[in-house]
Symmetry: C2
């Protein structure tokens, strides 16, 4: 493989990245079916046919986004669990970082929204369904384990830890959806409100 091949691959990856980026915004706000290849192409100022030079189908773009969203999310969860911190501080850190991500980084709420919509939707590719089935649990499990540890140390309230993890994530996802829906008008709530669930 000569250097031209490598260079071309790099350029191609970069273009793919740009397509993925606008597709994320469109899928998250319009949904998979309502998003037309034309929408993606015209948002990038390229022809509709060219998109198929980079992806085999609209579904492939969607699946790639779902895969990447879980990759980032699960990576962050594993990192959180590995930290040398008291459980309650881990919870506080997770809430703070997630809320910050929802507020600041434009992509974070979109990824949450994409996962939430995809999880709730029947109208998604089978591959995406599989990804959700396999990858969705880790984030719940990590938070559950942290809560159990905190409860053993007496630092976290003693409700059912699975219930608490469920409320944790549904609240975060609910906020992400709200932010994606209301954009500029969204004001991040005080993280301590969420902390009150745990202490």
């Amino acid at each position: 493989m000569g250097r031209n091949t490598i260079l071309n691959q790099k350029i191609k990856d970069e273009r793919r990245g740009r397509i993925l980026s606008v597709a994320l915004g469109l899928f998250a706000t319009k949904g998979l079916t309502a998003t037309k290849i034309t929408d993606i192409a015209s948002a990038l100022g390229i022809s509709q046919g060219l998109v198929y030079h980079y992806f085999r189908s609209k579904e492939e773009i969607f699946v790639e986004l779902i895969r990447y969203a879980f990759e980032r999310m699960n990576e962050a969860c594993r990192y959180l669990e590995s930290l040398d911190l008291p459980p309650l501080e881990k919870i506080r850190m997770a809430i703070t970082e997630l809320l910050k991500g929802i507020e600041k980084n434009e992509d974070t709420p979109l990824y949450h929204l994409l996962i939430a919509l995809a999880t709730a939707s029947d109208a998604i590719p089978a591959q995406a369904k599989d990804l959700i089935k396999n990858e969705n649990m880790l984030s719940y499990d990590v938070i559950t384990r942290i809560i159990i540890k905190g409860q053993k140390e007496g630092a976290i309230k003693k409700h059912d830890p699975k219930d608490m993890a469920l409320v944790f994530w549904t609240t975060i996802k609910g906020l992400a959806i709200h932010k994606a829906a209301h954009g500029r008008k969204y004001k991040t709530p005080d993280p301590e409100i969420l902390m009150d669930i745990f202490i």
Copy 2:
């Protein structure tokens, strides 16, 4: 208008109701665009063309559902506010009833989901957008007012009441989405977990 006309109208309304009912389930799980008129018709065992005898278009069905969802939701909110109860008990009642509705009644989470998806989506009819703009605020305002009253009486924690109302509703909607997504596997969390946000 003779009695036949009235009777026929009644029958027609009943048929419309059945169409709306299955459309709710489909829109909530597949989205507006991914739901085909064929899906609705075949779920009812009627021909595709017959749907157009009862509704002018797919969008009309959608708008009617959104309108009805807000009607029910806002009605319930106004009722809650009118009750002669201490603010904290109103919050507790709201949480309990909403969680019960999510768990038991099959339609409740679907309506929440429909509103949540529609709120987040760009790909919905203009009429639905207007409805959301006009009707969506009431539920937030009612909860905010109840919280403020409770704070004055010293019965509710003194975070920013708007933040608290936002967390309240995003959590409920998040749970509704989760239930709609996971169906049978969904287990309602202990309402007291949510109460901890307020006391």
